[in-house]
Amino acid sequence: MSGIIETLLWGVANGCIYILLATGLNIIFGVMKLVNFAHGQLLMIGAYVAFTVSTAVGLNAYLSILMAMVAMALVGVALERLTFRRVLGTDKLNEIFVSLGLIYVFENAAVLLWGNKLKQIPNPLQGDGLFLGDVLIGYDRLLAILIVAIILVALFVLLKKTKIGLAMRATSQRSGTSMLMGVNIEKIYIFTFALGAALAGAAGALYGILLPFDPGIGALPTIKAFAIIMLGGLGSIPGAVIGGLLYGIAENTAVYFLGGIWQDAIAFALLIIVLVIKPTGLFGEKGE
């Protein structure tokens, strides 16, 4: 019994990483209608940035999350200006191929800069936890869940209570009309991409705190993030949250009951089932 409780807790913690990644991807897709297959590589670079500031500067692992978010936001601005801006609004295939090319650029850059060996961000809480009966609850898991909750609340406030959030939502629903109403679409696109990249950076830093990583870790999370936003509903932030949690829990319980080789199969089976029953996803929203 203790094993399944621990497994559920890990599922929630891993799900939190997926939530951040999928939310960032969802925001970018929702506002810009852009499909970025290199989003997982932003997670990977975020993990390395956090690792570097933690090990080289000695910054606390949890403070390094902020550094990763800032760094990835800047990377996001550069990416949007230098690559996606050039192809946005042209054939969808152009966006897809740009993002596919970026996967190789980021992965090879990471190998050049940090090598290809597994790394993990030094975490002061690593190995510490409390026992509830036989159940070991790691403090680092609990803190990860708390951090994600704080980021999501901040994101909610940003989107619902600020002018720029209003502009983002308006652009998401009717970009043409928003432009006519005086919204600077270009600035909104830059901000949106930077925000999505910052969330990926936070996801990467948390990933690096909880798990070992290498330059190849971005590929599968990207696909999972896409699956999560389809599961939760395209453009829906609550959908990404619920989808991410479901994914994390489904993956870990599949490993627990069926074995590690079923981890990805079960999670994607869940996606297929939901899409067959409700093709718009759990919280699908209609937009432009």
Binding site: S2, Q126, G127, F131, V255, Y256, G260
Partner: protein, 466 residues
């Protein structure tokens, strides 16, 4: 008159001698114009620590051989150097390992191949050598299928419709396995548990002698992992060892998060966990097991983890844990073989790090190749294959049952008879990481004692359920 006669005799002698010397010089053959460097391809995954160790060891062996005059090739009447051809299989995945070997064989024209890392990668890339009749001394890939999947190995017991079977008996005769097989080291591991750990558990925790040791096997989902798992269970059954395999779990080869698998293992209450993976995966499992899951047990790693990176990655989590091996650069000096003292010293001087096990096999293999080519007197591949088959040289870095390096005398597939042992890791404050002591067995052929210390249970160890 007499002086004149003597002078004539001297002149005649000098003339005859000059003629003889000239004739002799005429007869001494000059090096053949065909003489060239011997091309040996090193098949290694340069992405990984193991491959980098193999590369360093190969370069060291080649430099030593070339500096000592090279390899004598009788048909060329000269000594020639070895030219190392890099055959980089990157991560050694099946998809990436065949192309580089094909290039080495068909374009670079290697005379011989040495290396191989994962079983799955080597099973894929060796087909190129089999089809093109290139001798291949395989120093990694512990699956016995690399030499037994042909007719002479009775297809390694594979069913008739299995795609791994090779019908080309002659092609398979070019394969030589200078490495322990999964059966070799699984036997050492399970016998250690039965003969050493079980009695210690019984006496420490007052277990009834009829209680079997509870073993968990956590393995990567590939030929290597399955081979170790199957061989371990087969040996336990065939030798009727007092061990119950209470759980066996596989995971994808790409996994880096083992927490849930370890939780399932913990739920099975094992006395020990046999971890079947390479360096990074094994180190992660041992760390995550203790740190994240609270599975405070004895973990034993496979010999491919005998590498500096493994000790570094483990850090303090290595304390009291076990490593099965056939080469122990962390258990000395002094070492159980003087050849290891020399090798470790030279390697450290050259590369400023301790050597690993994968490189030790590779290093030996270059000397085996040298001996075989000199015995064959040619680089003709069939002749070199025959020479490797009959090679008999003194053991070097790897202990063998006979003290000689010989490939399966009396059987048709080519394997050596290595000796493996179990090391326990102990924390070394000065080094800032663990070092090893050999704890099993007591002796090896020609080495008495081999054991350096008694096995002790790690601090905080918790046995499985009674």
């Amino acid at each position: 008159m007499q002086k004149k006669l003597i002078a004539i005799i001297v002149v005649v002698i000098v003339a005859v001698a000059a003629v003889l010397v000239g004739w002799q010089l005429m007869q001494t053959p000059s090096p053949s114009p065909e003489a060239r460097a011997i091309k040996i391809g090193l098949v290694a995954c340069y992405d990984k620590a193991e491959g980098q160790d193999m590369d360093r060891a190969a370069k060291m062996a080649v430099q030593e051989i070339n500096d000592a005059g090279g390899v004598w090739v009788e048909e060329w009447n000269t000594n020639v150097d070895i030219e190392l051809v890099i055959v980089d299989t990157e991560d050694d995945s099946t998809g990436k390992s065949v192309g580089p070997v094909t290039q080495a064989v068909l374009e670079d024209g290697v005379d011989l191949l040495i290396g191989g890392y994962t079983s799955s990668g080597t099973l894929a890339n060796q087909v190129v050598a089999i089809e093109n009749r290139v001798p291949y001394i395989i120093t990694g890939a512990s699956s016995s299928l690399v030499t037994r999947r042909g007719p002479q190995g009775n297809y390694g017991g594979l069913p008739a419709d299995n795609q791994l079977r090779i019908e080309d008996a002659e092609g398979m005769s070019y394969m030589f396995h200078y490495c322990t097989t999964t059966a070799d080291y699984s036997k050492t591991v399970v016998k250690f548990f039965a003969e050493t750990m079980k009695p210690l558990l019984d006496s420490t925790y007052g277990f009834d002698s009829s209680r079997n040791l509870r073993l968990a096997i956590l393995y990567r989902d590939d030929a290597f992992g399955k081979g170790v798992k199957d061989d371990s269970k087969a040996i336990i059954a065939s030798e009727n060892l007092p061990i119950d395999v209470v759980i066996e779990r596989s995971y994808p080869t790409t996994a880096t998060n083992f927490q849930t698998d370890l939780t399932v293992v913990k739920d099975a209450n094992p006395d020990a966990v046999y971890v079947v993976d390479f360096i990074a995966g094994t180190a992660e499992i041992i760390k995550q097991g203790q740190r994240d899951v609270g599975l405070d047990t004895v973990y034993i790693a496979v010999e491919c983890c005998e590498d500096p990176q493994f000790y570094t990655l483990l850090g303090q989590y290595g304390k009291g844990q076990l490593l099965e091996s056939k080469f122990a650069p962390y258990a000395g000096p002094p070492f159980y073989l003087s050849t290891i003292d020399t090798y470790v010293t030279d390697y450290q001087a050259k590369y400023n790090t301790l050597p690993g096990m994968m490189g030790a096999d590779t290093y030996d293999a270059f000397y085996i190749a040298k001996a075989a080519i000199e015995a064959a007197g040619t680089v003709d591949k069939a002749a070199v294959r025959d020479a490797i088959e009959s090679v008999s040289v003194d053991q070097m870095l790897i202990i063998t049952e006979t003290g000689k390096i010989e490939f399966s005398t009396g059987v048709n597939y080519h394997e050596i008879a290595p000796v493996t042992f179990v090391e326990q890791l102990v924390w070394n404050e000065a080094a800032g990481e663990c070092r090893a002591v050999i704890v099993y067995p007591d002796t090896a052929p020609g080495i008495d004692p081999l054991k350096q210390a008694d096995f002790t249970l790690p601090e905080g160890y918790e046995p499985g359920s009674p």
